[in-house]
Structure formats: C-alpha cells, structure tokens
Symmetry: D3
Subunit: 166 residues, 6 copies
C-alpha cells in the first residue's frame, strides 16, 4: 500500500454518505477471476509443538479438523462478516505446515465474481487457527495466533502482495 | 502454563483413543459459572488509524458493526469450531479501544455450563477483528491482527490468567 | 405500559454505559417458566383471500409452509436478532386463522430460562407472515402485515398483556 | 396490481399440480437486474420515541444494530423462507428515519439474477424492525410494526410500485 | 458405473496430492445445466404406514413438513457437506409417494453451475426421510431408510442413470 | 415395538388436534440423561472399498471429514428437522469401521435434557454417510446407504434397542 492515497479507492466504501454501514453496490462491477491467500501463524509452547508434530493419528485428525473447519468457515463468510457479499467460491484450500515451533496455516480462496475473496481467505485462516487452538488449549491456553492477507488478485484494484512475500 | 505437565489435563481431550476427533463427554461435569476474556489487536497504517479514530459517525458505525459481528459470532461458536459444545451464553460483550495506532478488541463471554467459554470469547474477538479488517481493507490491505486468551474462570481446571495481565 | 417510568426496567438494557450494544448479563436471573404470544395479521386483496381460503390442498400447503417456517425461525431468533440470548425453547406453535379477509397468525413460544421468549414469538409470527407473502406475492404484491406482542408471562418483569386482549 | 387478472402470472407458482409446495424452476428465466424496496414502520409510545431520538450514542448503536441485523437477514432469506431461491445480492441497504413518532425503515435489495429480490427486502425490513423492538421492548412492550413492499423492478413481471409512492 | 476405470475421473478429487481434503477447483469448468434426482425409501411397520396413509390432515402435514425440510436442507448442502461448493439452485422439488408400505421420497435438484447437484438431491432426500422419521418415531422407532442417487445429467462426466431406472 | 398400541405414546405427538405440525411442549418433562446411537451403512463397489481402505492419508482424511461433518450436523439437528427442539449435546462421537466392503458409521449422541437425542444421532450418521458419498462419488456414483436407530435410553419412554443388537 504505497503513496497513492487520495485515490478514490481510499474511501471507506462500506459507509453511506450519512456514515451508515451498508453492503456496497457491486452490481456494475465486472465478473472477473478472483483469488486471495491469507495466513495465520499459531505460536505455542515447545512441548505443545512437539506433541502436535509427533503423534501420527492425533496430528492427522487435529490438522484435518482445522483444515475442514477453515474450508467450511470460508463458505460462511457473508454470514459472519456483516457487510460481505455472498460469493460462490470455486475453490478453497487450507494447508498447514508445522515449522519451527509454529503452525503456519495458508488459506486460498478463489471465485469468478464481482467482488474479491480476501475475507473468505481471512476467515478460513482464522477459523483453522481457532480450531487448532480449541483442540490443544487444554495443554496450552497461552497459544496465540496472528492473521494477515498474503496476496490477492483480480478485480479493479488489481493485484496486491504483502511486502517480502515471493 | 508452567511445568506441571503429566497432569491429566495435559491430554488432547478432543481425540478418542484411536486418535479420532470427537466432541468430548461433558455430561458428568458440574454446571458452574464460566467466564472468559479474549483479545484481538488490530495493527494498521497510521493514516488508517487516524481515519478510524477521527470521523464521528463513520467510526461509530465501523466499530458498531465490529462489536455486533463479534457478539453474533460468539453465538455461532459451536457451528464454526467442529468439536465445541453448544453453550447458552448468559452474556457477551465486545469492547473496542483505539489506542496508540492499534484497535484493541476485548471480548467477554459468560455462561452457566458444563464446559468453558474460552472459544466463544476467542471467536468473538477474531470476528470483530475480521469485520474491522473488512471495513477498512480498501484503504489498508496490509492490516494484521493477533488473538489470544486473556483470562478464564470457572470449571474444574480453575482460573487462568495470561502472564502480565492484571 | 403505564406511568411507572423511572423504574429500573425503563432503561435500554442492551446498551453499556458508553452506549455500546451488548448482550446483557442474565447469569444472575432465575430460571423460570417463560411464555410469549405474538401476532401477525396479513391483509390482502379479497380475491387473494378467497383463493387462499378456497383451495383445499393448496391452502393446506401454503399454511403448512408458513407454520413450519415460523417454527424454524423461532429457533433461529438468537442468530437473527443480534443481542438475543440463545434459548432452548420447550414449545413453539404457530396457528393461522383465515378470518374476514385477513390471515391472523398467532405464534406461541415457551421455555424454562433466565430470559424471556418475546422475540422468539415475534420472529415466528413475522416469518410465517413473510412466508405467506412469498407464496402468494405473485398474485398480490401489495399485501401487508403488522406484528405485535399479545402477551408474555414469567420472569422478573412479570406478566404483560396487550390492552383489549382477553 | 391492476385488472390483468387471469394472466398466467396469477397462479400460485409455489405449488405443484398436486398442491405441494416446491421451489419453482427459474432455470429458463433470464438473468436481469433486480431491485426491490420494502418498508417497515415501527410505532411506539411518545416517550420511547423521544428516548430513541434523543440520546446520541445510544441512538447510534440501536439503529446501527437494526441496520446491520437487517442486512445480515437479507442474506439469510433463502434459509428463512422455505421456497425462496438462494440469491447473490449485489447490494443491500437499510436506512432508518425517525419521523413523527415512527421509525421508518427502508430496505433496498439488488441482484443480477433469475428471480426477484422482493423477499430479501421484506426480510431485511422486518428483521431491522424486530431488532429495534428487541432493543427497546424493556421500555415499551406494546410497540408494533407493519411491513410492505414499496417497489420492485426487473424480471418478466416488470416494474411495480405501491400506489401513492413516488 | 462400468469398466472405464483408469480414466482421470476415477480419482478422489477432494484430496490434494498430500492427501488433504480440500474444495476442488471448479473455476475452469463450464457453467452448464445440471440436474440430479435422489431417492430415499422409508420402511416402517404396517400399522405405521396405515396411520400415515389414512389421516387426511395429519398426513398432509407430516408429508408437507418432510417436503419443506427436504427443500430447505438442499439449500444448506454446502454447509453440511464440508467439501461441497455453494450452488444457486434454480429448482428443488421433493415428492413423496406412499406405496406398498414404503414412503418413497424423490428429490430433484437443478442448477446452472460449474459443478453438479447430486449432493443437493441426496441431502434433500435424506432430510425429508429424517423428518418423516422424527414425526412418527414415537410410534415406530425401528423405521429405517435407504438413500441413493437415481440419475444426474449435465457437466463433463455427462449423464448417469441407476441401472433399472427408466 | 410390540403390541402395546393404544398407549398414549402411540400418538403422532407432532400434530395438534387440528392436524397441524408443531413443536411439542416438553416443558413439563423431566431433565434426564439421554443417549442414542444410530447407524449408517454405506455400500459401495469392491474397488471403491479397496481404495477407501488402502491409502493411508487419503483414507485418514476422507473418514476424518465424514466424522467431523457428522459431529457438526448433530449440532444442527434442530435447524434441519423442523419440529426438533434445540438440545445442548454433552457428547457426540462418530466412529467409522470399514468392514466386508461396507463402511459402518455409528453415531452416538448424549445430553441432559427434557427430550431425546435420537434425531441428533440419526442426523450425524446420515450426514457422515452423505459426506463419504460426496468424497468418493466421482469413482462410484451408485453407492447407497441405509440409516437406522440402534438404541436409545433415558426419558419417560425408557430404553429401546433394535432387535438383534447386543
């Protein structure tokens, strides 16, 4: 996000002139191919990470539950985020890598639509992280996670990529 | 979470012996007063923060939408997190403080139940943060947020408080 | 609702001191037997009423769909109305009487809970009316309906009955 | 709704020949630009109206909650109304005007679809009214509201406008 | 399903290379007219069947409830089945025939989409059967039902018809 | 279900006197410990069974997805089955055994409630079977499944066990 502020895209488009929240009109926007990737990183105690990474079946299922929860949540985005439009996602994928004591969750969402799928990816990543937390919180209540958008493409505002991401 | 590992509470209770995810049996647990507080901190560009903090009505509604989305999501926790039990929350509150360039979202959940409300608080805080992101992402796609549990009370495992929290 | 304003029950309990919407704390309230009845009256063109009242099977199904939609909506109240608590309803009934050109929908909700079921009854009546509208709007788009609470009992604020109702 | 009765559009299209409710086939209908506006008018005690209109932050949030609830409900229309098709709304707006002791809620829904969005607008207006009721019922249980369609455009049946509306 | 195994369509497309469940990418698939019919057969005690078939109004409503539940469930398919894409159904119909002691439920789903509607038909038939079970289980807990796909058309894999079906 | 017909429990309790569906009043029923087990048996082509049983990770995830979908659906029972009461389940478990060419899905539901959990178990078993079908339908569209209640305990009507079950 560089120095092109002042541009029309720098307006809070979810607010009407009177400042009231509304679902913005996307009727005139073109249907294009949309894609977004979001990432959640779950940080935990070393012993928790070892437990998560070691066990075969347990790990399988903990991660499977988190992946599935992320996918299902992506489909609920417009229900969870008040001003999001309903979107027919053409693809959702949630991958989880256990690396250096951190569970890195990457969620990808795609659609052919009039509006972007950033929120779908963000919701998927967050919910996968929350599910992971739920399943191991009994042994590590202090776990934390952060969430960010990694990249998005398609639509009038074009491509965007978090700095430092390939 | 200190060095008392080995304790029975250090088991991944969401997995059966065969390692399969299931909703744990809480039928024998006592109905007690439960409370949990979770926090999400949303970090943004200084200009975004100024915009968010300045406008009266716009801010009102952005934060109102985030608070309401958080409250509604808390009630959907068992739908979003696969192995969570349904809980009848007796109270949910989401407060948002704009401070030092960061939006600090504190979500409190309470219930009289056989199981805790940590996930309800975590889901509320995360969804409020996601809503905030949704409403200002047009001007700041790089915004990030982190989520953690701040405290919980009630139930057999007793009270817990994040270190450094009063 | 008479002249006893000033009473503590005359406060907007869904707002915190700072004026922010929240789900009020009902943890300390007693679990009592709750009941509420709401009514929707759907007004239509005489020909629409005749069509609705005449046909045997058609009428059966239109009214059946409206009744079932009302019952299902009652169970979704806490999902639809942001600050409503989840409630385990012990009974829901939606009855529809076709009388004098008007479809009168009475919805009854009951629960043993810490909070009232007025909204559950109101939502059931409204949704049954909306479903009726949906099913005959092709022949009468101008149909209207009004909704009100008829009575409620249980809880600290006691019984209430709309004036003029038996 | 004029005198063109007898037209095929005057059939209860949600019923099959046997009189059984079903979701009508819209597969052959053209995708056109659809728009509908519905209105709910909430009537209350003068003191309630004053309270609602006076307070700055409280009003802000009560109305914000009602607007957001209306928008979210519009997206749930096909879940609430049994025979409604799922629709990807391109725009939803709920505006509330406090005027002459009445809260007038106008809900606008838009889509590019094979079927109309009247129900989405009706559901949004009703749910906003129900939310308003929920938030002030503690001080005025006798509040009532009525709901009607104001106008709709798009689709084979063309434009429709409630008599007396500009 | 004949002897053309080895074909690319004989892969479990819901699994990524690493074996992880994901919502497959249908972005490149063509939007075509899709249709599927599924069937559930509910078997019960002769006395139960007589009761179900005899009563006029009771039967009407039991079957009406089952039909409506089936239709509504079809619209929830992507919420229930983790890896299903959201689909905008253009038509859903659930018909129930009481024949020879068995309730035969046929559910038809149609859409113009990039992916098939088999699951929507299967979910509708199953949920109608479950609703029937729920409504008469008090008199016949031993009732059983089976579910199968009867036919599907549209999409790259073309038409399919259960052997022995016309 | 033997010859004690005529008993009051042999009435279709979901219908009012007028024959209209309603959610029966359970307010006076005692809160007791409830348990139900339902079973779905998924039949498939031998090659499908081999594929399902062989692969390690793929199988893991297919079955994990089915188990999780079953658990989540159990929590949605009152949303899917029109006249079911909302229930706070204290435990849900879905186990899947691959045996003799058949996938046998056993779903157990438990609660402390005024009403039984048979439908929760039936819905869980059905949805797990539907998910299994969804994930392998590309290779075996002809797969079928049947569903039945295996046992239930608790409540006024006491224990029930399918004949032939231990």
């Amino acid at each position: 996000m560089s120095d092109d502020a002042g541009d029309s895209k720098f307006t809070l488009t979810h607010l009407t002139e009177g400042g009231h929240a509304h679902m913005v009109d996307v009727g005139e926007k073109a249907v294009t191919s949309r894609r977004a990737v979001a990432r959640a990183r779950v940080r935990m105690q070393p012993e928790t990470f070892v437990k998560l990474a070691a066990g075969d079946t347990p790990k399988g299922d903990v991660l499977a539950a988190a992946r599935i929860a992320g996918i299902q949540a992506a489909k609920k985005t417009s229900e969870l985020i008040p001003l999001c439009h309903g979107i027919q996602l053409t693809r959702v994928e949630v991958s989880i890598v256990l690396d250096g004591g951190i569970a890195v969750i990457d969620a990808t969402a795609e659609a052919r639509d009039r509006t972007g799928v950033e929120m779908e990816a963000m919701v998927a990543a967050s919910t996968a992280a929350l599910t992971l937390y739920d399943m191991v919180k009994a042994i590590d209540r202090g776990m934390t996670f952060d969430v960010c958008l990694v990249q998005k493409s398609g639509g009038k505002s074009g491509d965007w990529r978090r700095e430092g991401e390939p």
